[in-house]
Symmetry: C2
Subunit: 161 residues, 2 copies
DNA sequence: CTTCTTGCAAAACGTTTGCAAGAGT
DNA sequence: ACTCTTGCAAACGTTTTGCAAGAAG
Protein backbone atom coordinates (compact mmCIF):
# COMPACT_ATOMS: atom_id res chain seq x y z
CA UNK A 1 0.00 0.00 0.00
CA UNK A 2 1.30 3.35 -1.15
CA UNK A 3 0.63 6.36 0.99
CA UNK A 4 -1.50 8.88 -0.84
CA UNK A 5 -2.36 12.27 0.55
CA UNK A 6 -6.13 12.64 0.44
CA UNK A 7 -8.89 14.95 1.48
CA UNK A 8 -11.86 12.76 0.64
CA UNK A 9 -14.25 12.36 3.49
CA UNK A 10 -17.32 10.17 3.10
CA UNK A 11 -19.85 12.59 1.74
CA UNK A 12 -22.23 12.32 -1.17
CA UNK A 13 -20.79 14.33 -4.04
CA UNK A 14 -21.73 15.49 -7.49
CA UNK A 15 -19.57 14.04 -10.22
CA UNK A 16 -18.02 17.39 -11.10
CA UNK A 17 -16.93 17.96 -7.54
CA UNK A 18 -15.60 14.42 -7.26
CA UNK A 19 -13.63 14.77 -10.47
CA UNK A 20 -12.16 18.09 -9.41
CA UNK A 21 -11.11 16.76 -6.07
CA UNK A 22 -9.59 13.75 -7.75
CA UNK A 23 -7.58 16.02 -10.05
CA UNK A 24 -6.35 17.99 -7.05
CA UNK A 25 -5.40 14.79 -5.31
CA UNK A 26 -3.38 13.67 -8.31
CA UNK A 27 -1.58 16.97 -8.55
CA UNK A 28 -0.78 16.98 -4.84
CA UNK A 29 0.90 13.60 -5.25
CA UNK A 30 2.69 14.35 -8.53
CA UNK A 31 0.50 11.89 -10.36
CA UNK A 32 -0.95 12.43 -13.78
CA UNK A 33 -4.51 12.80 -14.89
CA UNK A 34 -5.08 10.24 -17.63
CA UNK A 35 -8.10 9.25 -19.71
CA UNK A 36 -8.01 5.77 -18.16
CA UNK A 37 -8.19 7.20 -14.66
CA UNK A 38 -11.02 9.46 -15.68
CA UNK A 39 -13.18 6.76 -17.27
CA UNK A 40 -12.64 4.44 -14.34
CA UNK A 41 -13.77 7.09 -11.88
CA UNK A 42 -16.71 7.98 -14.08
CA UNK A 43 -17.77 4.35 -14.53
CA UNK A 44 -17.62 3.73 -10.81
CA UNK A 45 -19.62 6.88 -10.19
CA UNK A 46 -22.35 5.89 -12.60
CA UNK A 47 -22.65 2.33 -11.39
CA UNK A 48 -24.84 1.53 -8.44
CA UNK A 49 -23.59 -2.04 -8.46
CA UNK A 50 -20.61 -3.26 -6.53
CA UNK A 51 -18.06 -4.02 -9.23
CA UNK A 52 -15.24 -6.50 -9.39
CA UNK A 53 -12.07 -5.44 -11.24
CA UNK A 54 -13.15 -7.89 -13.93
CA UNK A 55 -16.63 -6.30 -14.15
CA UNK A 56 -15.10 -2.88 -14.47
CA UNK A 57 -12.68 -4.05 -17.13
CA UNK A 58 -15.51 -5.50 -19.22
CA UNK A 59 -17.56 -2.35 -18.84
CA UNK A 60 -14.66 -0.25 -20.06
CA UNK A 61 -14.05 -2.53 -23.02
CA UNK A 62 -17.68 -2.07 -24.02
CA UNK A 63 -18.04 1.64 -23.33
CA UNK A 64 -14.59 2.77 -24.45
CA UNK A 65 -13.19 0.05 -26.72
CA UNK A 66 -10.80 2.50 -28.37
CA UNK A 67 -8.89 2.94 -25.11
CA UNK A 68 -8.09 -0.77 -24.83
CA UNK A 69 -7.65 -0.29 -21.09
CA UNK A 70 -5.65 -3.19 -19.69
CA UNK A 71 -6.71 -5.14 -16.64
CA UNK A 72 -3.46 -4.11 -14.95
CA UNK A 73 -4.47 -0.47 -15.22
CA UNK A 74 -7.83 -1.28 -13.68
CA UNK A 75 -6.11 -2.91 -10.71
CA UNK A 76 -3.60 -0.11 -10.38
CA UNK A 77 -6.28 2.56 -10.51
CA UNK A 78 -8.51 0.77 -8.03
CA UNK A 79 -5.62 0.55 -5.58
CA UNK A 80 -4.93 4.23 -6.03
CA UNK A 81 -8.59 5.08 -5.50
CA UNK A 82 -8.78 2.85 -2.47
CA UNK A 83 -5.67 4.37 -0.93
CA UNK A 84 -7.19 7.78 -1.51
CA UNK A 85 -10.46 6.71 0.11
CA UNK A 86 -12.41 7.36 -3.06
CA UNK A 87 -13.57 3.76 -3.27
CA UNK A 88 -13.89 1.06 -0.67
CA UNK A 89 -13.62 -2.65 -1.23
CA UNK A 90 -15.53 -5.61 0.11
CA UNK A 91 -13.96 -9.06 0.27
CA UNK A 92 -15.77 -12.26 -0.56
CA UNK A 93 -14.16 -15.57 0.15
CA UNK A 94 -10.64 -15.98 -1.08
CA UNK A 95 -11.42 -15.12 -4.65
CA UNK A 96 -12.36 -11.61 -5.40
CA UNK A 97 -13.00 -8.18 -4.13
CA UNK A 98 -15.78 -5.83 -5.07
CA UNK A 99 -15.38 -2.07 -5.19
CA UNK A 100 -17.81 0.74 -4.72
CA UNK A 101 -17.50 4.49 -4.50
CA UNK A 102 -16.64 5.41 -0.95
CA UNK A 103 -17.72 8.98 -1.35
CA UNK A 104 -21.17 8.55 0.07
CA UNK A 105 -22.73 7.98 3.43
CA UNK A 106 -21.28 5.01 5.25
CA UNK A 107 -23.35 1.85 5.18
CA UNK A 108 -23.17 -1.87 5.72
CA UNK A 109 -24.14 -4.77 3.50
CA UNK A 110 -26.76 -7.46 3.30
CA UNK A 111 -25.57 -10.16 0.93
CA UNK A 112 -27.89 -12.75 -0.56
CA UNK A 113 -26.09 -16.08 -0.76
CA UNK A 114 -28.47 -17.32 -3.46
CA UNK A 115 -28.33 -14.57 -6.06
CA UNK A 116 -25.37 -12.51 -4.86
CA UNK A 117 -27.38 -9.33 -4.64
CA UNK A 118 -26.04 -6.75 -2.22
CA UNK A 119 -28.39 -4.46 -0.32
CA UNK A 120 -27.02 -1.54 1.61
CA UNK A 121 -28.24 -0.34 4.97
CA UNK A 122 -27.27 1.98 7.78
CA UNK A 123 -28.02 1.59 11.44
CA UNK A 124 -27.07 4.37 13.79
CA UNK A 125 -27.28 2.14 16.82
CA UNK A 126 -24.68 -0.26 15.43
CA UNK A 127 -22.38 2.61 14.49
CA UNK A 128 -22.59 3.94 18.04
CA UNK A 129 -21.87 0.57 19.61
CA UNK A 130 -18.77 0.18 17.48
CA UNK A 131 -17.34 3.34 18.94
CA UNK A 132 -18.15 2.20 22.45
CA UNK A 133 -16.45 -1.15 21.89
CA UNK A 134 -13.26 0.19 20.35
CA UNK A 135 -12.95 2.83 23.02
CA UNK A 136 -13.27 0.22 25.75
CA UNK A 137 -10.54 -1.92 24.18
CA UNK A 138 -8.13 0.96 23.54
CA UNK A 139 -8.36 0.38 19.82
CA UNK A 140 -8.08 3.26 17.35
CA UNK A 141 -10.73 2.53 14.74
CA UNK A 142 -9.92 3.49 11.17
CA UNK A 143 -12.61 1.55 9.37
CA UNK A 144 -15.10 -1.21 9.74
CA UNK A 145 -17.25 -3.45 7.67
CA UNK A 146 -20.24 -5.54 8.43
CA UNK A 147 -21.92 -8.06 6.24
CA UNK A 148 -25.08 -9.96 6.94
CA UNK A 149 -25.53 -13.08 4.85
CA UNK A 150 -28.82 -14.72 4.11
CA UNK A 151 -31.55 -15.14 1.57
CA UNK A 152 -33.32 -12.12 0.14
CA UNK A 153 -37.09 -11.75 -0.16
CA UNK A 154 -37.14 -12.59 -3.89
CA UNK A 155 -35.08 -15.76 -3.52
CA UNK A 156 -37.23 -16.92 -0.62
CA UNK A 157 -40.29 -16.55 -2.81
CA UNK A 158 -38.63 -18.46 -5.66
CA UNK A 159 -37.84 -21.30 -3.26
CA UNK A 160 -41.46 -21.63 -2.27
CA UNK A 161 -42.51 -22.48 -5.85
CA UNK B 1 -20.33 -25.47 -2.19
CA UNK B 2 -21.51 -28.97 -1.45
CA UNK B 3 -24.54 -29.39 0.70
CA UNK B 4 -23.71 -31.19 3.91
CA UNK B 5 -26.30 -32.19 6.45
CA UNK B 6 -25.23 -30.82 9.78
CA UNK B 7 -26.36 -30.48 13.35
CA UNK B 8 -23.68 -28.19 14.65
CA UNK B 9 -25.04 -25.12 16.35
CA UNK B 10 -22.66 -22.54 17.75
CA UNK B 11 -22.03 -23.80 21.24
CA UNK B 12 -18.82 -24.28 23.14
CA UNK B 13 -17.96 -27.96 23.09
CA UNK B 14 -15.51 -30.35 24.63
CA UNK B 15 -13.25 -31.98 22.09
CA UNK B 16 -14.73 -35.45 22.66
CA UNK B 17 -18.21 -34.19 21.95
CA UNK B 18 -17.05 -32.28 18.89
CA UNK B 19 -15.24 -35.32 17.54
CA UNK B 20 -18.25 -37.55 18.08
CA UNK B 21 -20.59 -35.15 16.39
CA UNK B 22 -18.15 -34.85 13.51
CA UNK B 23 -18.07 -38.64 13.14
CA UNK B 24 -21.86 -38.73 13.11
CA UNK B 25 -21.94 -36.00 10.50
CA UNK B 26 -19.56 -37.94 8.29
CA UNK B 27 -21.60 -41.10 8.60
CA UNK B 28 -24.82 -39.28 7.84
CA UNK B 29 -23.30 -38.03 4.57
CA UNK B 30 -21.59 -41.31 3.58
CA UNK B 31 -18.21 -39.75 4.11
CA UNK B 32 -15.28 -41.49 5.71
CA UNK B 33 -13.49 -40.79 8.95
CA UNK B 34 -9.80 -40.47 8.11
CA UNK B 35 -6.69 -39.67 10.13
CA UNK B 36 -6.20 -36.51 8.11
CA UNK B 37 -9.67 -35.26 8.95
CA UNK B 38 -9.15 -36.08 12.59
CA UNK B 39 -5.83 -34.26 12.95
CA UNK B 40 -7.17 -31.23 11.14
CA UNK B 41 -10.15 -31.00 13.47
CA UNK B 42 -7.93 -31.57 16.49
CA UNK B 43 -5.40 -28.95 15.39
CA UNK B 44 -8.10 -26.38 14.82
CA UNK B 45 -9.59 -27.19 18.21
CA UNK B 46 -6.31 -26.72 20.00
CA UNK B 47 -5.38 -23.52 18.28
CA UNK B 48 -6.66 -20.24 19.56
CA UNK B 49 -5.23 -18.45 16.56
CA UNK B 50 -7.08 -17.85 13.35
CA UNK B 51 -5.28 -20.11 10.89
CA UNK B 52 -4.75 -19.83 7.16
CA UNK B 53 -4.79 -23.09 5.16
CA UNK B 54 -1.04 -22.59 4.80
CA UNK B 55 -0.61 -22.19 8.58
CA UNK B 56 -2.57 -25.34 9.18
CA UNK B 57 -0.59 -27.26 6.59
CA UNK B 58 2.69 -26.26 8.23
CA UNK B 59 1.40 -27.16 11.67
CA UNK B 60 0.41 -30.60 10.44
CA UNK B 61 3.76 -31.17 8.78
CA UNK B 62 5.46 -30.39 12.06
CA UNK B 63 3.12 -32.27 14.39
CA UNK B 64 2.40 -35.26 12.16
CA UNK B 65 5.17 -35.45 9.57
CA UNK B 66 4.50 -39.16 8.96
CA UNK B 67 1.08 -38.36 7.49
CA UNK B 68 2.51 -36.11 4.78
CA UNK B 69 -0.88 -34.40 4.57
CA UNK B 70 -1.12 -32.55 1.27
CA UNK B 71 -2.24 -28.97 0.98
CA UNK B 72 -5.14 -30.11 -1.23
CA UNK B 73 -6.46 -32.21 1.63
CA UNK B 74 -6.25 -29.24 3.96
CA UNK B 75 -8.33 -27.17 1.54
CA UNK B 76 -10.81 -29.97 0.96
CA UNK B 77 -11.23 -30.59 4.68
CA UNK B 78 -11.61 -26.91 5.49
CA UNK B 79 -14.38 -26.63 2.88
CA UNK B 80 -16.09 -29.64 4.34
CA UNK B 81 -15.83 -28.22 7.85
CA UNK B 82 -17.08 -24.85 6.70
CA UNK B 83 -20.05 -26.37 4.89
CA UNK B 84 -20.85 -28.29 8.07
CA UNK B 85 -20.58 -25.12 10.16
CA UNK B 86 -17.78 -26.55 12.23
CA UNK B 87 -15.43 -23.76 11.23
CA UNK B 88 -16.05 -20.28 9.94
CA UNK B 89 -13.79 -18.29 7.72
CA UNK B 90 -12.80 -14.66 7.65
CA UNK B 91 -11.65 -13.00 4.45
CA UNK B 92 -8.89 -10.46 4.22
CA UNK B 93 -8.38 -8.55 1.02
CA UNK B 94 -8.01 -10.63 -2.08
CA UNK B 95 -5.36 -12.91 -0.76
CA UNK B 96 -6.29 -15.34 1.92
CA UNK B 97 -8.86 -16.62 4.25
CA UNK B 98 -8.42 -17.45 7.90
CA UNK B 99 -10.34 -20.20 9.61
CA UNK B 100 -11.40 -20.69 13.19
CA UNK B 101 -13.57 -23.21 14.98
CA UNK B 102 -17.15 -22.07 14.67
CA UNK B 103 -18.32 -24.23 17.53
CA UNK B 104 -18.15 -21.58 20.16
CA UNK B 105 -20.11 -18.52 21.11
CA UNK B 106 -20.57 -16.16 18.20
CA UNK B 107 -18.34 -13.12 18.15
CA UNK B 108 -17.02 -10.42 15.87
CA UNK B 109 -13.51 -9.27 15.10
CA UNK B 110 -11.25 -6.34 15.76
CA UNK B 111 -8.35 -6.45 13.30
CA UNK B 112 -5.17 -4.46 13.78
CA UNK B 113 -3.96 -3.22 10.41
CA UNK B 114 -0.41 -2.76 11.75
CA UNK B 115 0.35 -6.14 13.29
CA UNK B 116 -2.52 -8.26 11.96
CA UNK B 117 -3.63 -9.30 15.43
CA UNK B 118 -7.27 -10.32 15.72
CA UNK B 119 -9.23 -9.62 18.89
CA UNK B 120 -12.65 -11.14 19.37
CA UNK B 121 -15.61 -9.43 20.95
CA UNK B 122 -19.35 -9.83 21.39
CA UNK B 123 -21.93 -7.14 21.69
CA UNK B 124 -25.48 -8.11 22.42
CA UNK B 125 -26.84 -4.79 21.24
CA UNK B 126 -25.34 -5.24 17.78
CA UNK B 127 -26.65 -8.79 17.54
CA UNK B 128 -30.13 -7.55 18.38
CA UNK B 129 -30.03 -4.76 15.83
CA UNK B 130 -29.05 -7.20 13.11
CA UNK B 131 -32.20 -9.16 13.71
CA UNK B 132 -34.29 -6.03 13.62
CA UNK B 133 -32.74 -4.91 10.32
CA UNK B 134 -33.08 -8.21 8.51
CA UNK B 135 -36.64 -8.62 9.69
CA UNK B 136 -37.52 -5.18 8.39
CA UNK B 137 -36.05 -5.94 4.98
CA UNK B 138 -37.63 -9.37 4.64
CA UNK B 139 -34.23 -11.00 4.60
CA UNK B 140 -33.67 -14.44 6.09
CA UNK B 141 -30.36 -14.15 7.93
CA UNK B 142 -28.14 -17.21 7.92
CA UNK B 143 -24.92 -15.66 9.08
CA UNK B 144 -23.12 -12.41 9.53
CA UNK B 145 -19.68 -11.07 10.07
CA UNK B 146 -18.40 -7.81 11.31
CA UNK B 147 -14.87 -6.57 11.33
CA UNK B 148 -13.55 -3.39 12.82
CA UNK B 149 -10.19 -2.28 11.47
CA UNK B 150 -7.80 -0.03 13.28
CA UNK B 151 -4.67 0.12 15.36
CA UNK B 152 -4.41 -1.85 18.58
CA UNK B 153 -3.21 -0.48 21.89
CA UNK B 154 0.26 -2.00 21.57
CA UNK B 155 0.88 -0.66 18.07
CA UNK B 156 -0.30 2.81 19.09
CA UNK B 157 2.25 2.78 21.91
CA UNK B 158 5.01 1.62 19.56
CA UNK B 159 4.18 4.50 17.22
CA UNK B 160 4.64 7.04 20.00
CA UNK B 161 8.29 6.04 20.52
C1' DC C 1 -15.15 -55.30 -2.84
C1' DT C 2 -17.06 -50.97 -3.36
C1' DT C 3 -16.82 -46.21 -2.52
C1' DC C 4 -14.55 -42.37 -0.75
C1' DT C 5 -10.13 -40.06 0.13
C1' DT C 6 -5.63 -39.13 -0.55
C1' DG C 7 -1.16 -37.03 -2.57
C1' DC C 8 0.70 -35.39 -6.46
C1' DA C 9 1.21 -32.48 -10.28
C1' DA C 10 -1.03 -29.65 -13.34
C1' DA C 11 -4.38 -26.22 -14.09
C1' DA C 12 -7.04 -22.34 -12.93
C1' DC C 13 -7.86 -18.07 -10.91
C1' DG C 14 -7.20 -13.35 -9.40
C1' DT C 15 -3.65 -10.15 -8.78
C1' DT C 16 0.98 -8.04 -9.29
C1' DT C 17 5.21 -6.84 -11.64
C1' DG C 18 9.10 -5.62 -15.12
C1' DC C 19 9.68 -3.41 -19.04
C1' DA C 20 9.71 -0.72 -23.22
C1' DA C 21 6.63 2.34 -25.60
C1' DG C 22 3.57 6.22 -24.97
C1' DA C 23 1.16 10.19 -22.76
C1' DG C 24 0.88 14.12 -19.49
C1' DT C 25 2.91 18.19 -17.49
C1' DA D 1 12.57 17.20 -21.51
C1' DC D 2 11.31 14.85 -17.82
C1' DT D 3 8.47 11.82 -15.22
C1' DC D 4 4.58 9.11 -14.70
C1' DT D 5 1.45 5.76 -16.86
C1' DT D 6 0.19 2.46 -19.90
C1' DG D 7 -0.43 -2.32 -22.18
C1' DC D 8 1.53 -6.48 -22.60
C1' DA D 9 3.17 -10.76 -21.05
C1' DA D 10 5.26 -13.15 -17.59
C1' DA D 11 5.30 -14.17 -12.75
C1' DC D 12 3.12 -14.80 -8.49
C1' DG D 13 0.50 -16.87 -4.58
C1' DT D 14 -3.58 -19.18 -3.52
C1' DT D 15 -7.08 -22.47 -4.48
C1' DT D 16 -9.05 -26.21 -7.34
C1' DT D 17 -8.95 -30.27 -10.18
C1' DG D 18 -7.96 -34.94 -12.59
C1' DC D 19 -6.19 -39.00 -11.73
C1' DA D 20 -4.25 -43.29 -10.19
C1' DA D 21 -3.00 -45.42 -5.83
C1' DG D 22 -4.52 -46.26 -1.16
C1' DA D 23 -7.61 -46.48 2.93
C1' DA D 24 -12.20 -46.96 5.10
C1' DG D 25 -16.51 -49.17 5.63
Amino acid sequence: MIHVTTNFNNKTMEYEELLNDFKKLLKKNNLKFTIQREVILETLYNSDEHLTPEDLHHLLQTKYPELKTGIATVYRTLSLLEDSHVVTSLSFGAQGKKYELGVKIHHDHLICTECGKITEFVDEEIEKRQHVITKKLGFKMTDHSMQIYGICKECQEKENN
